[in-house]
Symmetry: C2
Subunit: 190 residues, 2 copies
DNA sequence: TGATAAACGGAGGGTGCCTCCGTATATTAC
DNA sequence: GTAATATACGGAGGCACCCTCCGTTTATCA
C-alpha cells in the first residue's frame, strides 16, 4: 500500500466541495445562526468531517476565498472575448462586489484576524486577479471605450473602498453596485 | 411607596460602573476568551446582574462608548489651559487613539451591526466631541503653533482613517500612534 | 473479492448565551 | 431603631456551539 500514490477517495473530494459551498452560503451572509455546525448541516456531513477537512476557521476561510478568486480570474479570461469591453468590465466588477461581500461576511462571522500565512495567500491571488482583469482594462483603453488614464488599481481600490466603507445590511449590495456603476460611467471616454 | 421617587440602590450604581469598566478591559482587546460571562466574572457580579443592567450587547456597547467619549470631552476641556497647545493636542489625540481601539474592539468582539439608535447616539456624541476639541485646534491656530488651514475634521478623520485601516494586532497601537505623530508634525506652522 | 487505508459521523465534555426566580438587602415610613 | 417592601442580586438550568476522539463504514488497490 503506497499511501502517497493512492487517489483521494471520491467521497472525500465531494464532501470537501460541499463544505466549501455550504460555508459560502451559510457564513458569507454573516447573519445570526451562522456557525460551523450549521455549515456541516447544510453540507449534509458530520461535524467531524468538517473539522477533518478544515482544522481551523482560517483553513475554511482560505478554501472559500481561494475558490472565489479563482472563479473571478476565470471569469475575467472568459470575458475577454465579449464586447463591448466596457460591458464585460461591468459584469466582472459586479462579480467582484460579490467577492467583497463574501469575504467581509466570512471574516466577520469567523471573527478572524488575518495571519501572516493568509496575507501571503491574499497577495498571490490578488496579483493574479489583477493581471487577469488588467487585460480587460488595457483592452477597453485600446478600443477607446474608457479614458486612457484609468488603471486596474483605480478600479479595484475604488470597489474595495466603497464596499468596505458601507456598513453591512440588507441594502449593502444595492448601494455598492449603484456607486460602482456611477464610477464605471465616469470611466467612459468622453 | 413612591416607586418613581426612590433613589437607585447604591449597589446597583456600583455594579453598573464595575460592569462598564470590566467590559472595557475584557472586550476592547477583542482577544479570545472575551465573553459576557468573562465580563461578569471580571466585574465580580453574577451573570444575571450583567443582563439586568444591559439587556443587549448593544446596550453594553453604548454604555462603554458613551463613557469613553464623555471622558474625552472632559479631557479636551481640561487641556485648554495647557501650553504649548500643540502638546495638549498631541495628548488629546493619543487618547482618541485609545477610543478608536476600544470602539473597534467592542464592535468586533460583540459582532454588532450599528443600529439606527446607536447611529443617533454616535452623531450626538461625535458632535459634542468635535466642538470640544475644535476649541483646541482654533487656539493652536491662533497662537500660530499650527498651520491656519487645519480643521478639526482634518485631524479627526485622519486619526479614524489611520486607525481603521491598520489591521488589529499587537503592533496596532504603536503603528497608529507613529503615523498620527507624523501627521501632527506635519500640522506645525512653518 | 478481500484487505486495509482513508474517511465518515456523532457522542461527549467544555463553554457561552440568556432567562427565570428564590434569596438578600438598601431604602423608606413610622 | 425597626418593619415593610421595592429593588437588586446570583447562579442554576436549558439550549447552542466548539472541538476532539474513536468506533464504524467504505472506496481503493492487489
Amino acid at each position: 500500500m503506497e499511501s502517497a500514490g493512492r487517489k483521494p477517495r471520491s467521497d472525500a473530494t465531494r464532501n470537501r466541495e460541499r463544505l466549501i459551498e455550504a460555508a459560502k452560503t451559510v457564513l458569507a451572509g454573516g447573519g445570526p445562526g451562522a456557525s460551523l455546525e450549521a455549515v456541516a448541516r447544510e453540507a449534509d456531513v458530520g461535524i467531524g468531517t468538517l473539522y477533518r477537512h478544515f482544522p481551523t476557521r482560517e483553513a475554511l476561510f482560505q478554501a472559500v476565498y481561494r475558490r472565489e478568486v479563482e472563479q473571478l480570474i476565470e471569469l475575467a479570461n472568459a470575458l475577454e472575448v465579449q464586447s463591448p469591453v466596457l460591458e464585460a468590465l461591468r459584469n466582472w466588477v459586479h462579480a467582484l462586489v460579490d467577492l467583497v461581500e463574501t469575504k467581509r461576511g466570512l471574516l466577520g462571522t469567523l471573527s478572524l484576524v488575518p495571519t501572516e500565512g493568509s496575507k501571503a495567500m491574499y497577495a498571490e491571488l490578488s496579483g493574479r486577479m489583477q493581471e487577469a482583469v488588467g487585460r480587460l482594462v488595457t483592452q477597453a483603453v485600446k478600443t477607446g471605450e474608457i479614458r486612457s488614464d484609468i488603471t486596474v488599481d483605480d478600479l479595484l481600490s475604488t470597489v474595495y473602498a466603497v464596499g468596505y466603507a458601507r456598513a453591512p445590511g440588507p441594502e449593502w449590495k444595492a448601494h455598492v453596485l449603484r456607486l460602482v456603476d456611477i464610477f464605471l460611467d465616469g470611466m467612459k471616454a468622453t
